[in-house]
């Protein structure tokens, strides 16, 4: 199937009883369940906050400047993601204007790549942070802070990793003409969700003192 045919198909959805795309409904239902998943981990961190009987304690090892930079990197990845979606949508809406379609598709792919790069950068910061914490004697079973911190931020990092794989897959498939704007939008919803979870984690773990 040609790129032009795929672009045309992007605007044709199967009729549903709600008038909404089923895949998008499924994604939002999934994100609703993810709220409960991450919320449970955040709650566990909060109820055990300040209850560690041995160190190292959060105030001794949390690196606020480093995490501020990684937070900014993740925020900018959300901007790149939304610009990528805009590019793919414009490409699909270009109709018979082949030059404009190619130009917008190129922009969409560029911002998709930037999102994946920034996401990988965030993971790099997290790996470095974990390495430093272990170096300072904080393991998974050292104290309640270590257990709740590593489980919460580890699951978040895993979600970021899955998101990066998802984005790279979209990027590769787009060169074979197999990516519709809806596919990018669903990946984007997941990516933005990972970002908002970090917004909460950054405030509750890093900025609010124990």
């Amino acid at each position: 199937m040609s790129d032009a045919a795929l672009a045309h198909e992007a605007h044709e959805e199967h009729p549903t009883s709600t008038g909404l795309n089923h895949r998008k409904i499924l994604m939002w239902a999934f994100l609703g369940s993810e709220c409960i998943f991450f919320g449970s981990l955040i709650t566990t961190y909060l109820v055990y906050r300040g209850k560690s009987v041995v160190g190292p304690y959060p105030g001794e090892i949390l690196n606020i400047p480093l995490t501020s930079v990684s937070t900014f990197v993740l925020l900018m990845s959300s901007l790149a993601m939304v610009l990528s979606l805009a590019g793919f949508e414009r490409a699909a809406g270009a109709g018979t204007d082949e030059e404009r379609r190619r130009s917008e598709l190129k922009k969409g792919r560029f911002w998709l790549l930037m999102t994946a790069v920034l996401g990988t950068g965030f993971l790099g910061f997290q790996v470095y942070e974990f390495y430093e914490f272990v170096h300072h004697g904080l393991g998974l079973t050292t104290n309640l802070f270590g257990t709740t911190f590593y489980v919460l931020t580890g699951f978040h990092g895993t979600h970021v990793g899955v998101g990066v794989v998802w984005l790279v897959s979209l990027l590769v498939l787009s060169y074979f003409g197999k990516v519709k704007p809806l596919d990018v939008e669903l990946g984007g919803l997941y990516w933005h969700f990972v970002d908002i979870v970090w917004i909460i984690i950054f405030t509750l773990i890093y900025l609010i003192p124990s």
């Binding site: 008038g19 369940s33 955040i42 959300s78 805009a86 809406g93 405030t203």
Partner: protein
């Protein structure tokens, strides 16, 4: 015009808008980090940080995730999960607070 089509048109018109949202998010993050270095009373610090985080959360959900323009059903799914979680958090915090005396 369907909701999907309205959403697409909105997205086409707002690339500059997305950049402005990113600038606001950056400013809010700078303010958050600044609270770490400025001596603010604890009673004021917690609400301030929660408000700043809430604003960032709302901006991303409303504009980057397009909930402001999309079907209310999507908002329903998302905020149902979020509400359950907030209630769970409050219940457990109270429960553990009572246990700790």
């Amino acid at each position: 015009m369907s909701t999907e089509a309205a959403h697409t048109d909105e997205a086409h018109a707002t690339t500059g808008h997305y950049v402005r949202i990113a600038i606001i998010l950056t400013i809010l993050t700078i303010l958050e980090v600044a609270t770490y270095y400025v001596d603010i009373p604890f009673a004021l610090l917690i609400p301030l940080l929660l408000v700043l985080a809430g604003m960032k959360f709302a901006l991303v959900v409303a504009y980057y995730m397009h909930l402001r323009y999309d079907s209310k059903l999507f908002s329903g799914f998302f905020f149902f999960g979020l509400t359950i979680e907030i209630l769970l958090l409050i219940a457990l915090m109270v429960l553990f607070g009572i246990r700790s005396g």
